[in-house]
């Protein structure tokens, strides 16, 4: 069975029609991991025994949960009770948690079966996956190129059929960027929609919990499971109403106003990205949407605001790793974590707080107002996810500022707290994936799924065969 072609919907339908058993499916994924993980390095920990045991328990049972018997991978930032959780850092190399993250618990209660823990940039710091203390994850479309970060293992796993879906975290683009680099769908939900309980904190005013799938419908299916308050994360919207995020899927987008932020496309895009984006706009117009130019005037300051706020909050959140209660001492932090701790400690230190942290929070207000004004004119926004297609390993690793600038089109969504959905949009001349992102007002995920699904049904990039 070619698992790289299976969607969650295919798997659930297959169970209902008795085409295969849960054990058949789980074994197929585990076989594929066995075959490919030594090269791709998507998984840090493979949880074979547990996965097979759970599959056996579900064999022959009626399909109940919406993720019944669906195998998935977990970014190693999510705590998993009894299963090693490393944050891809030597500091937590041997750490075994005593409880699981809410998102993981909910997925498992809906029937999802974990195959293991996925690689990423240590502490979710990075845009290429190269900051992991457990080695690089390779891009399955071309192994000389980065899969995007920080959720590098999640993108690669879903693209290569090493999991039907994967969890991720997005603080400045860590889901959308690797999704666009691997031809997968990546959702960064609205800030305050999915609980962060049990997920290792990076920058608390920006962190969100999302996931990678092959299709938009699968993405909506998972959000219906993970969204909503759990009583453990007080930043969540307090609404007990259960939302079905698949409700607008299949509805056309005729007459919908889609805005293109001029500042995102004016300069700095590679020719391949520019061309792919322009073709995507034609597709959306062909589907009856109205394309409108809008302006987000403070886009230029996005990266500066983000790197002040994010580093400051990182320095505070990583202060807890002192090797006393768990993990190793602070000498085990890698280069990038040290850099961010140092930068954030500096911007929060006496005499500099007003000049950096407070100033950045004020410009954040202006950035957010840009989006508020844009959404008075249009229903959703669309832009490329990354200014370029995937780059080669090593290209940016010794120049942190160049690496940071690759997040220019994603960090603004985190600063405004709005949702972003990255959808495959095509391939570069040298056959590397390129994605676009749809952005909407706070809590407009249903609308993003509607637009994303319409675009995906027309373009079907997810059907492209990956030769491995």
């Amino acid at each position: 069975m070619d698992t790289s072609k299976l969607t969650i919907t295919d798997i659930i339908n297959g169970y209902k029609e008795n085409k295969f058993s849960v054990s058949d499916i789980v074994s197929s994924y585990l076989d594929r991991i066995e075959k490919l993980n030594s090269t791709l390095n998507a998984y840090i920990t493979i949880d074979k025994e547990n996965a097979l045991k759970k599959a056996k328990e579900l064999d022959g049972q009626e399909v109940k949960g919406s993720l019944h018997g669906v195998p998935f991978g977990i970014k190693d930032m999510f705590l998993t009770k009894g299963v090693k959780t490393t944050a891809a850092s030597n500091v937590l190399r041997d750490y075994i948690p005593e409880y699981s993250a809410t998102a993981v618990t909910r997925i498992e209660e809906a029937g999802g079966i974990s195959l293991g823990k996925l690689n990423h940039d240590a502490w979710a710091h990075g845009s290429s996956g190269e900051n992991s203390d457990f080695g690089n994850t390779l891009n399955p479309w071309n192994k000389d190129y980065v899969p995007g970060g920080s959720s590098s293992g999640s993108g690669t796993a879903v693209a290569a059929g090493l999991g039907a879906f994967a969890t991720g975290t997005d603080t400045g683009g860590s889901i959308r960027l690797p999704a666009s680099f691997t031809n997968t769908v990546g959702l960064k939900p609205t800030y305050g929609l999915v609980s962060r309980y049990g997920v290792i904190a990076m920058a608390s005013s920006l962190d969100t919990i999302g996931h990678f799938t092959r299709t938009v419908q699968d993405s909506a299916k998972i959000l219906s499971v993970t969204a909503g308050p759990d009583g453990m994360d007080s930043t969540l919207r307090q609404s007990s109403e259960k939302v079905n995020y698949e409700s607008l899927i299949g509805k056309d987008i005729k007459g919908l106003k889609i805005g293109v932020p001029m500042e995102y496309v004016a300069e700095g895009l590679s020719n391949d990205v520019k061309e792919t984006f322009e073709k995507s706009l034609e597709v959306l117009e062909g589907l009856g949407a109205k394309i409108v130019e809008v302006s987000l005037p403070h886009t230029e300051e996005g990266i500066a605001v983000y790197y002040v706020l994010m580093s400051s909050e990182v320095s505070s959140n990583l202060a807890r790793y002192d090797g006393i209660r768990y993990g190793s001492d602070r000498s085990h932090f890698g280069k990038e974590a040290k850099r961010r701790i140092m930068l954030g400690t500096y911007t929060l230190s006496s005499g500099y707080y007003d000049a950096y942290y407070k100033k950045a929070m004020q410009v954040r207000t202006l950035l957010k107002e840009d989006f508020d004004k844009a959404f008075e004119k249009v229903d959703v926004l669309v832009s490329p996810v990354s200014p370029t297609q995937p780059w080669k390993f090593g290209e940016k690793i010794s120049d942190p500022l160049a690496m940071y600038l690759s997040d220019a089109l994603t960090v603004t969504v985190n600063l405004a707290g709005i949702p972003g959905l990255s959808v495959p949009a095509g391939f570069s001349a040298n056959n590397l994936p390129i994605g676009i992102q749809f952005m909407g007002p706070h809590f407009s995920e249903e609308l993003l799924f509607q637009v994303g699904h319409a675009f995906e049904s027309e373009t079907k990039h997810y059907e492209r065969t990956l030769n491995l």
């Binding site: 005013s205 500066a304 230190s349 500022l401 707290g417």
Partner: protein, 101 residues
């Protein structure tokens, strides 16, 4: 890589505040790279913000509280201690913080 032209950060003072021990080579590399990044961040000074309220969170929630009662989700003493070998009589062992003088 680019060499930053202005020195902004005192890496020795900052490393002490951050409780990080850096090698000489790390100090040098960090000095260059962080000055480069801070030089870039300085562009925020060109934005007029004197009347602008800072944004610390984006969804407008205020004073989220719960009943002051014990919750189920609480680790047992053994569970809380399971991540370390440095324990004594059911407690964590830490370095001495205050001198007796």
């Amino acid at each position: 890589m680019r060499k930053a032209s202005i020195t902004y950060i005192d890496t020795h003072h900052t490393a002490k505040l951050a409780n990080l021990t850096l090698t000489d080579a790390e100090h040098e590399e960090m000095q260059n790279q962080l000055d480069d990044v801070i030089g870039y961040i300085k562009k925020l000074n060109t934005v007029e913000t004197s009347d602008i309220e800072p944004t610390a969170q984006v969804t407008g929630l205020k004073n989220v509280t719960r009943e002051d009662t014990a919750m189920d989700a609480c680790l047992t003493q053994d569970e809380a201690l399971s991540g370390t070998d440095k324990k004594h009589n059911g407690l964590f062992v830490v370095d001495k913080l205050v001198d007796t003088q």
